[in-house]
Symmetry: C2
Subunit: 455 residues, 2 copies
């Protein structure tokens, strides 16, 4: 029996070993992942320390006796709660949540007190709780409904939650607590201390500005489009065009634009937070963040055309159409190469101009005009007399789709011009003289919100 | 002087009047907006009442004395807080938040107690608060960093917040409170009561299932694409094609696909919530929500091609190219009409199949094969000998882009087939016999999350 038990034990150990190995593998994988996340944007590590710091600072209220007794035990908990909930990655996020929390608490506290006093007027003894329940029900229902308004959802969602919470608490707890006003003031002051701590740490300790992230995200996205176009020119319309091997490589290059297709939520979020941020660095308080959203939308417009080009390329890779009209094909290739390289250069210049906060150079107009000329040159082309439609389409469709990209790039250039005018970007010549223009800190690092790429 | 004062008063009144008028107009506008939001999806009104009900129910704990005294005053507040924060529009949302909150509180409470006991072992009197601060700092920093992992962010973000919160509170407050374990258990039980109330109301009172919303969103989006194609066929490739007036009307019709371009965040959110929901109605617990995301991605793929078609149409509306080769043009028109109408019908049938949870009928394959035949027929076409490239491109590009849509529709049909197989949808013949198949409740109502359409 002893032997049997030992065997069982052995079996136990051996059956646990692969599980242990499995766990070890998973832990190693997780470690690698975490390391990658930290490396991608080191500000994430800093943010984690900042959050830890804020909570530790607030907990000092607990340990330092005079402060603690002046605020009351349960109120101090509210400071901890505030810090945990309000601290966000960007300064704008923290400000947005902090201000929402403070003002919602103020408003709901005052309303709650009023509801409490009103209910106390009721002569009947059961009247007070019934009246209070009705108030809480009505206000909670109305406030909940207001969250379906898209504008409120976008900017004040957190404030509405806090409003319902505080109103319910004040109205309901008033039924029990004697010194309601004193309690409310205590709670408000602890919340204010919590918010002030978070905001101060967000703004003064290695701040992460949502506005700056948005300002860096746009040129990064435009650069991705430029990359696509320049890659297309090099790998697909280069001299060696038509060889299958090159196409294989190209399929890697031409997916650079993909993340741009789904960039809208990130941009909306950053612009929303950026509006809450005070002026900082090169960005004034009234920086035209709305124009950034417009540029973002036009960038996506370009990316949609690129998606069509990319799907055409992957289709024609598999097609068995043999193009016999080589002269026609060659002329189209030259036009396509010109369009993609010139538009790519124009986009790259636009991205640099936004990044350096200067008006786009005249080179943009020059490149775009070259691209337009190439696009117009297609109009004079005639295919050979015996060409069939698929043959023509195979060569010419990319050319047509590229013309669409050229057109979108024109719109994009106009929007960037508008931004540089409204936001008082430096003139090109000034920017050249002024060697003090530094690239914005953390320039290339990706923004906090992860955009998943569709597979 | 009296007269002057009276004049001043009058001026005051008259200068206030427009402001009052302005306010009145704004209020009327807001009222209309709220009414529209309620009409779009009446479940929103129901949800508001449900939220009010949940909070009122919880506040009963306050009024009914025996319950109140058994739980303690400050703990009851936690029940109110839980209800306000956990109650979400969909059952899956409420479950996700409720379970996150409960398990995070449990885990963090246990860890907090352990940290507290560990710190109490310190012999030095100043050692305890210092050790506790270090623990809080480290745990808060690590937990904050974990939120940057996309998988954790998507599913457990709220849980991590609550984890940090509870751990800090238990670790820190342990320094003051004597009966820490009793307090922790009280708090846990109030949170459990709050979560149970929310979950029960979410699931049993007019439930809104995220899964059902997702299940309705997909066919609604596919229908939008079908609408675009059928509208295109009717208004653009109809017999009257070419007349400017028709094009003007068409530009309204052909924007139906636009909301689909940005449907990804809504679908991701709904699928995330749907995973938390128990089996309900026609959906089992392990319903393949992942396949819904795949179908959503393929639907967007179609929409990107439609964006290219739409931009081509608006471009060619302004172009001055006169097409002289009418026979070529007519043959392309017929092919395009066939492709868009057949693909549109196939998409509409796919949407109906998903909506009724049955395998797509053989008509889908028939329609798609017709569309493919029309697309293939283009290959035998030859333009007139004297046709210039822009002339050919103007007529033929839409045809090419439509071929891309036909191809995407094939992929979509395959994915819907896969879904119907994996999710055990009814066979076509069974569905016909079984007259008890009801359209899913709230079938056409748009989902809760508002998708903004880019302008």
């Amino acid at each position: 029996m002893e032997a049997a038990a030992r065997t069982n034990q052995n079996v136990g150990v051996t059956s646990w070993l692969p599980l242990f190995q499995n766990l070890k593998d998973k832990a190693a994988k997780l470690g690698k992942k975490l390391k990658k996340i930290g490396k991608e944007d080191p500000r994430r590590i800093l943010h984690s320390f900042k959050a830890g710091l804020a909570i530790s600072l607030i907990s000092i209220f607990y340990y330092v006796n005079p402060l603690f007794t002046s605020l009351g035990s349960s109120s101090t908990m509210w400071a901890v709660l505030t810090v945990v909930v309000v601290m966000e990655f960007t300064a704008g996020g923290t400000l947005s949540k902090g201000l929402n929390r403070t003002f919602a608490t103020l408003l709901a506290g005052a309303l709650g007190l009023a509801a409490q006093r009103l209910a106390a007027l009721s002569s009947h003894s059961a009247g007070e709780p019934i009246l209070l329940s009705v108030f809480v029900f009505l206000l909670a229902a109305m406030a909940t409904f207001s969250r379906f308004v898209p504008e409120i959802k976008a900017r004040y969602d957190y404030g509405v939650t806090i409003f319902i919470l505080t109103f319910s608490m004040v109205a309901v707890s008033g039924y029990r607590e004697e010194e309601l006003i004193k309690l409310a003031l205590q709670r408000l002051s602890t919340i204010a201390i919590g918010v002030a701590t978070c905001v101060a740490i967000s703004i003064f300790v290695f701040p992460v500005w949502a506005g700056e992230d948005l300002h860096n995200l746009l040129p990064a996205n435009i650069d991705k489009l430029a990359c696509f176009l320049l890659g297309l020119e090099r790998e697909y319309f280069g001299e060696k065009m038509g060889s299958g091997q090159i196409l294989e490589e190209a399929s890697f290059l031409i997916s650079t634009y993909k993340p741009v297709l789904n960039s809208k939520p990130t941009e909306d979020l950053l612009a929303n937070f950026a509006r809450w941020e005070p002026g900082h660095g090169c960005f004034g308080f009234c920086h035209p963040w709305k124009l950034y959203l417009k540029i973002g939308a036009l960038t996506r417009q370009c990316a949609y055309s690129m998606e069509a080009i990319s799907s055409h390329i992957s289709t024609s890779k598999n097609s068995k159409v043999v193009i016999t009209d080589t002269e026609f094909k060659e002329r189209i290739r030259i036009a396509c190469a010109e369009m993609s390289s010139e538009t790519g250069k124009a986009l790259a210049e636009l991205a640099t101009a936004i990044r350096q906060m200067r008006t786009p150079s005249t080179a943009v107009a020059q490149h775009l005009s070259n691209a337009t000329t190439a696009s117009e040159s297609l109009k004079t082309l005639s295919p050979a007399k015996d060409a069939s439609l698929p043959e023509i389409l195979q060569s010419a469709t990319t050319a047509f789709l590229l013309s669409a990209v050229v057109k979108s790039a024109h719109h994009l250039a106009t929007a960037v011009e508008e931004l540089s005018r409204v936001a008082h970007f430096k003139r090109q010549d000034q920017a050249h003289k002024d060697s003090a223009v530094k690239p914005v800190a953390g320039g290339e690092s990706p923004p906090h919100v992860v955009v998943e790429i569709e597979k």
